[in-house]
């Protein structure tokens, strides 16, 4: 079983919801980001999404756009993102890492070269925003062949007719984008999201994590009641943007994970 499957199996046994955190690799610089990354499991994070910075993040709001710009200005590249994962894996063999971003940097490295390097570094899954099921042959199927999960985004515009195609080659979990819009914009409503989560679970037979629009411990706690996992990104990234110390960033993350875990 993969680290992602193991994680959900363990959490299910414990009756807990997964907390998934997003940070941008290399934000504000590689060293500080590595500190935060390595502190996330201790702050209660179950699955880590690590952003691969890109100049043109079309699905992201200002917080994550700026995080990507900071990272790129500080010299982050895709191969350095993989270096960060490799360094993390030396210290943590169990917490899944999912790389999230856009296709072009991966395509520029070359799909095969990227997958080999990602697999060696200890990457568990990929979320690539601009690769819908129509483009599965590009990266989704090759990734799954080397044992890397390809986690698909499902959205409020994904209707019943389309849902089977969306979940077909999805593995690990399904990421439900709870709002139509960009990251960190509107606030998600747990009651509205619940039926969608149920619908996707039935179609996919996979855990469903909910993200986009969850910003506070209260929001995380509410969403944790209706989903298998809760994703928070922009709210954490904003702390990093404010120049908070690693300890302060991790304390904020802890407040979110405690809320999601019902502590």
């Amino acid at each position: 079983m993969s680290r992602i499957d193991d994680t959900f199996a363990r959490l299910t046994a414990e009756g807990r919801t997964a907390f998934v955190s997003f940070i941008m690799a290399g934000d504000p610089d590689q060293a500080k980001c590595q500190e935060v990354l390595e502190g996330l499991p201790g702050a209660g994070v179950d699955i880590i999404e690590l952003g691969m910075p890109f100049t043109d993040p079309m699905a992201d709001g200002p917080a994550i756009q700026l995080a990507g710009q900071r990272a790129l200005e500080a010299g982050m590249t895709l191969s350095r993102v993989l270096d960060m994962v490799r360094a993390f894996r030396v210290k943590d063999a169990t917490t899944p890492i999912v790389l999230m971003g856009y296709y072009n940097p991966v395509y520029a490295m070359g799909v095969e070269a990227f997958l080999t390097a990602a697999s060696d570094a200890g990457v568990d899954g990929l979320i690539i925003v601009d690769l819908p099921p129509e483009e599965d042959a590009e990266l989704c199927l090759p990734a799954q062949e080397v044992g890397i999960d390809f986690i698909r985004l499902s959205t409020p515009t994904t209707d019943d007719k389309r849902l089977p195609a969306v979940v077909k080659n999805t593995s690990g979990f399904v990421y439900y984008v709870s709002i139509t819009g960009i990251t960190g914009a509107a606030t998600a409503n747990a009651a509205q999201v619940a039926p969608d989560v149920a619908r996707i679970k039935a179609a996919a037979n996979l855990p469903v994590c909910v993200g986009f629009g969850i910003k506070t411990p209260e929001g995380a706690a509410e969403m944790a009641k209706v989903a298998d996992g809760v994703v928070v990104g922009s709210a954490i990234v904003e702390r990093i943007a404010n120049g908070d110390s690693t300890a302060d960033v991790l304390a904020f993350v802890k407040s979110l994970t405690d809320a999601a875990h019902g502590v």
């Binding site: 296709y103 925003v129 483009e135 819009g181």
Partner: protein, 406 residues
């Protein structure tokens, strides 16, 4: 490429929206259902005579089509070679070819019941055309424009405001055309139900490249008929400038399967196409990648990060190019070359005093290339250049480049 079927060059894209390796639908899941809807609606409209009847009526009475095919006698004399014809799309209402496509998309939006139109714009020509047609049909219009472009294209910003459109200056990224397109896509994923995204060039996810091409193909269809009437035969060569490539695709497409016709696209060479990357020549100075919904040639660094283009012409400094151009380049059907800022500026001035036509800086690039090749061609060689826009919008940029204070 000797064994292809008669319509092999013009038949694309395939069902997945691919022109060979290029094109496709690289968009977020939120947009995918909308794009599939649009494709279905366009497929219906394409074969509906009433759709084209409405287009033809508006093209004729609102835009002023057909645009003339003008024999540029003095340019011909000056170059001393090929017979130069200019396809006068700068005489269209709003001053450029952009409105050909906008009309088609807005009629489609009306059929789909969409009331809110968004668009991106660089130089402002597509924004002005979209604002114009939205005013004509009483639709809400929001135009995303890079903050840098808002600054250097003030007259067009004011025009859009006069036409009732809201211009949103985009400060994310570097504040140019690609950032405006990112912001339009962000708006679209946020306001999915009521919004129609009117893309201004032959790029973006399928079906946009094919749809915009089809609407712009009126340029090439008219040219073909006009040339047959005038000279009794097809032209020998076609020349057009390329940013995203919509005016060029519109002129080229009806001629792709006429193999006797030499076709040349002219990219913006900025300060020169070299490793300083101070240009906007995606084909001659870029490599394949994925951006804004399609795979195409892009200006990018080793890590796949997009590099800003540079051109004196705000309408050409986009780091990508339409996917069909990328394919036509790779199979060798169309030649792609570039002209620098300086060469375009010289052609601009020459056109003003030689033909009494103030061209936009975009087609000035095409004219710069014509000036390089025309003299070596025989006098019975028929060359058509697409004069895709007029230069009124550019007089401040040109004055600045010439060191004049207006």
């Amino acid at each position: 490429m000797n064994t292809h079927a008669p319509n092999a060059y013009s038949a694309g894209p395939d069902a997945e929206g691919r022109f060979g390796l290029f094109g496709g639908r690289f968009v977020s899941e939120t947009l995918m259902p909308l794009i599939l809807d649009l494709e279905a609606e366009y497929e219906k409209a394409k074969t509906d005579p009433s759709f084209w009847a409405e287009m033809d009526d508006l093209w004729k009475h609102y835009v002023g089509r057909p645009s003339p095919l003008y024999f540029a006698e003095r340019l011909t004399e000056k170059f001393g070679g090929a017979k130069i014809y200019l396809k006068r799309d700068e005489l269209n209402h709003t001053g450029a070819h952009k409105i050909n496509n906008v009309l088609g998309q807005i009629l489609l939006a009306r059929r789909m019941g969409k009331k809110r139109i968004i668009a991106e714009t660089g130089a402002g020509q597509h924004g002005v055309a979209t604002a114009t047609v939205c005013a004509r049909f009483g639709l809400e219009c929001i135009v995303f424009m890079g903050a840098t472009d808002v600054e250097r294209q003030k007259p067009n910003v004011f025009r859009m405001n006069l036409l009732g459109a809201k211009v949103v200056p985009v400060t994310s990224g570097r504040g140019t055309l690609k950032d405006a397109m990112n912001e339009a896509l962000r708006d679209w994923v946020t306001n999915v139900d009521e919004t129609f995204y009117c893309i201004g060039t032959v790029a973006g996810p399928h079906p946009y490249p094919a749809m915009v091409r089809d609407f712009q193909s009126i340029i090439g269809k008219e040219t073909k008929a006009q040339m047959l009437e005038r000279e009794g035969r097809l032209p020998d060569s076609l020349v057009a400038c390329i940013g995203g490539g919509s005016n060029a695709m519109g002129l080229f497409h009806p001629f792709l399967d006429d193999e006797s016709v030499r076709i040349i696209g002219v990219e913006a060479g900025g300060h020169g196409v070299d490793d300083r990357m101070e240009h906007a020549a995606s084909l001659t100075g870029g490599r394949p990648g994925v951006l804004h919904g399609n795979r195409t040639y892009l200006l990018q660094d080793e890590d796949g990060q997009i590099i800003e283009g540079h051109s004196i012409s705000a309408g050409l400094d986009y780091p990508g190019i339409g996917p069909e151009h990328a394919w036509l380049n790779d199979i060798g059907r169309v030649e792609y070359v570039s002209a620098t800022d300086k060469e375009a500026l010289a052609a601009f001035q020459m056109c003003c005093v030689t033909e009494g036509i103030i061209p936009a800086l975009e087609p000035s690039h095409a004219l710069a290339h014509v000036s390089k090749i025309a003299g070596d061609l025989p006098s019975d060689h028929l060359l058509v250049m697409n004069m895709c826009g007029r230069g009124d919008k550019d007089i401040f940029t040109v004055a600045d480049a010439l060191g004049e204070d207006l």
